[in-house]
Amino acid sequence: MALTCTESDIRRWRAARVDDVSVAKRVARVRKRSIKTESKVELLRLALSMVDLTTLEGADSPERVRGLCRKARHPYVGTLGDERPLPSCAAVCVYPNMVPTAREVLGERDGPIKLAAVATAFPSGQLPLALKLEEVRQTVAAGADEIDMVINRGAFLAGRDAEVFDEIVATKEACGEAHLKVILETGELGTLDNVAAASRLAMAAGADFIKTSTGKIQPAATFEVTLVMLEAIREHYLSTGVAVGMKPAGGIRKAKQALHYLALLAEILGKGWLTPAMFRFGASSLTNDLLRQLLWRDEGYYQSPRRFSVD
C-alpha cells in the first residue's frame, strides 16, 4: 500500500519555526573554526571521497562525461608522500541522457563509484507526474544507481503539501532499487521555516537523502539551510530511527567551505554521518581545490590550479 500523509502530519511539518538569528550565530561560530595539520588532511581526504562529481550542462558531450568518470575514479594522477592512495569520488552526477555513457566507464552497477542522475524534469520539475515517473523508470533502467529528483516547489509554496508528498512517494516507487535524493531547491523556498517543513515532508515520504539545490538557482547551498536540514535529519532519526543522508550542492568550490560543512555535520549528526554513504557534496570545481590543499600539505608547495585537470 502506498504511503499516505494526513492533515495532522502536514500541520506537524508546517509547525517548524526556525530562529534565523540563532542559526546565523551558530553558522558564524562554525565558520570561524580552523582545522589544522593531520586533522585537516584526514578531513580533506574524507571530503574528496564524498564528492558527487557533477556536470549538468546543455553542452555536456559524451567525452566530457567519460572524462568526468575517469576523474572520479582517479582524481589525481600522482601519489602523495604518505603512500596511501587518494580516495575516489563518491559518485558521478549527470543528466539521464548521459547515463549509458557513464555506465560504460564506471562498469557494473553499485560499484565503488555510484552513478547518480537527475530526473523528474530537473531543474524546474514543471512537468506532469506521469512523464516524470517515466523519466525516472527509464533512467534507472539505463543504469543509474541514484536518482536526484526535484520537489514540486510550485505545489509546496501553494500549500498543496499532500501533492508534493505523493509525488515523492511515487518517485521513490519508480526508483525501485535506486537510491532517491530529494532536492528541495532551498533558494526558491524563501524562508528557513519552509526549508525545515520541506525537509520533514521529504523524509516522511521516504527520501534516502535530502539535497539543498539544483545548482541552477541562486542562492544554492548555504551553511544556514544546511544547518536547518541537518537538524531536521537529527529530529527524524530520533523520532523514527531512520537515518537520512544529506547533500549540499551548488556553490561549494573551496576546500575550506567543505571543512566547515563537515564541522557542522560532525557537530549536529556525529560520526555516523561522516561517511560518503550518508553525506555528499554536489560539486565539480571543489575537487581541484581539495587536491590543491592536499598537495600543499604533502609537498609544501602551493600548486597552480593549472596542474589539475579541468572538468
Partner: protein, 274 residues
Amino acid sequence: MSTSNRLVVEKTIKLYVGGRFIRSESGRVDRVRSSFSTNEIYVSRASRKDFRDAMEIARKAQAGWAGRTGYNRGQILYRLAEMIESRASAFPGETDRTQIAVDRAVHHAGWSDKISALLSTLNPVAAAYVNYSMIRPVGVVVAVPNPAEGLVGMVEAACAAAVMGNAVIVLVPSDQGELAAGLAEALATCDMPAGVVNVMTTDVPALLEWVNRHDDLDALYLVEGAVDDDAITEAQRQAARVMRRVVVVGSADQAAPPLTLQRLAEVKTVWMSS
C-alpha cells in the same frame, strides 16, 4: 579650536589587495617609527595566507587587464601619475623623489601602446608561411623593490609589470608603510581595475620564502639590494623548479628599458600559410 586640542586621528596602514584596504587576516600589525613625523605608526603585516589570497585575486584580475587596449592601460597609468602628484604633500621632505616617481609613471604610461610594436616582429622564414611573433603578458608578478629607493622603486616595479599587462603584487617592508599607503591610495583612485596592482606591507624576506613556494606565480621581479644575495639565489633555485621567470634588476635609477620589459612578457610566435 586649536590644533593641539584635536583628537589625534591615528592611522593603521592597511594592505591594498583587490582594490580594498584590508587588515592582515592574521591581525598582526608592526609598530614602526614614522618617516614623516615623530609619531609611531601601525602597519599591517601581510601573512602567507594574505599572500595566497592576493594571488587568487591577482590571477582573476590579470586577464581583464591584459584584455584592455594598450591605449587604455596608458590612460590609467597616466592617471596614476596625476594621483601621486596630487598627494605629494603627504610626503614632506620627499618632494624630489615624489616628482621622479610621477615622471616614472608617465614614462611607463607612454610605453603602453608602443611597446608591443617595438618588441613584436614579422619573422623572415624560408617557406610559404607568414611568421610573426608578438608579446603576451607573463601573468602574475611579485615585485620586490629596493626599500632604499622609496616611492620611486615601488612605482617603477609596479608600472613596469602593469604596463606589460601583468597583475602585480608589490611587497614593501613595514617601515615604509606610509609610502606604500600613499601609492595604494593613488592606485585606488586612478581607475586601475581592482586586483591589478596590489601593495602588501610585510616582513619581506620572511614572506619571500612563501612566495617561492607558490607555484601559481609566473614571475618574480627582484631589485638588487632589496633582499640579500642568498635570498636572491634561493628565489632563483626555487623558480627553476617550476620554470618561473626571475627578473633581477640593478636599481630603479633609470626606467626599465624595453629589453627588461620584454622579460615581463612571453613571446608568442604564430605560423600562418601565406
